[in-house]
Symmetry: C2
Subunit: 208 residues, 2 copies
């Protein structure tokens, strides 16, 4: 946090970030304006949520997510049954990383083992990148990453409310189709895109 | 509520339900076990949410939804800016209806006008059907319908928590591809389905 400037150049007088890889985000990901970040989530793709507890990175696979505002604010449903929950509660940040269809086996693999006994970045050959505003790592291999602060936890319903504070996208990536979990062990891949911008003009937020 | 038995046969001694159409649900929709109902929502499709306030049916288009449990429990984000919110708060039930790609223009149309001055069932030529446990109407033309009770409203975050109490699916329907809103006026149609049931066996809830 705060050890790189906006261009991703590290101040050599400050200590290196406590992250497994020092790869600069700036060379791989293009900044995405925050007012568009919700469009990465609105279609309901399976996402990877990273956390960092002390020196240890973790990842969980989540499809129980919801956009709550254009600002952007998101909800995820999780609880003590997920190893990542303790880190979310303690560190109060995470990264929502958006994987694509070519990463499906990693996504399922991450969702079927636990951070208790597994270094998921190592096991699934994923590269953690330093974020701008959060300690949780971005995932280099994903299409996009949204740095989030935990702004509330609704204990009664196991809802964690997140506010996106930075977002970036890998514009060089060829495969951009995300995946949607059905919940029965099958997944739906993004198909064709249909445009209704004209019909929806009155309802679209400014700047999207 | 309670004016039809489990087979959709109306007791002639009771008054007709206060609903625009008396079409029986049983002839069109196959009962879906509640333990599978979350699979209609988990992939994040755009849905239609119906409400009934007094004698007036309404529909809203929603993509801010989240599965919260297999039971099934769902969250939707909505508030006073939606005309349906008053009915949700007062009547404490709704129906989540799942439209498909052939219904996209109706879905967008419903999302860009208001129940304040529009009879949406009439305007979009949709047929309300009587549910089993709720006063809000099912939508005959949709692929599936989930009858829901409002079990909580988290005011701070405009989250309405719903519990599904019955679900049904139109098995005769040819078009089954749902649609996912991106949020910028474009929509993604369901593409191919990928099976990872074997890999996920340890994580799938019983009976799905």
């Amino acid at each position: 946090m705060g050890d790189k400037d906006a261009l991703g150049v590290r101040d050599s007088n400050r200590p290196a970030p406590a992250i497994a890889s020092g790869v600069s985000r700036g060379t791989l990901m293009r900044e995405l304006k925050l007012s568009s970040a919700f469009t990465l989530m609105e279609s309901g793709p399976v996402v990877l949520v990273t956390t960092r507890d002390g020196q240890k990175n973790n990842i969980m696979t989540i499809s129980w997510t919801m956009v709550m505002d254009f600002t952007p604010v998101f909800a995820i449903t999780t609880g003590a049954w997920n190893h990542s929950f303790a880190a979310l509660r303690k560190q109060k940040d995470c990264v929502i990383a958006i994987p694509t269809i070519d990463m499906l086996d990693k996504v399922v693999g991450i969702g079927t083992c636990s951070g208790i006994d597994t270094d998921k970045f190592g096991k699934f050959k994923l590269t953690p990148l330093q974020g701008k505003f959060v300690n949780s790592p971005l995932i280099k291999e994903c299409l996009a990453n949204i740095e989030c602060k935990v702004i509330d936890i609704v204990k009664k319903h196991n809802i964690v409310v997140l506010e996106g504070v930075a977002a970036c996208i890998n514009t060089a990536r060829k495969e951009r189709r995300t995946v949607h979990a059905v919940g029965d062990g099958t997944f739906i891949v993004d198909g064709r895109k249909v445009d209704r911008k004209k019909m929806m003009a009155s309802k679209l937020p400014y700047g999207v």
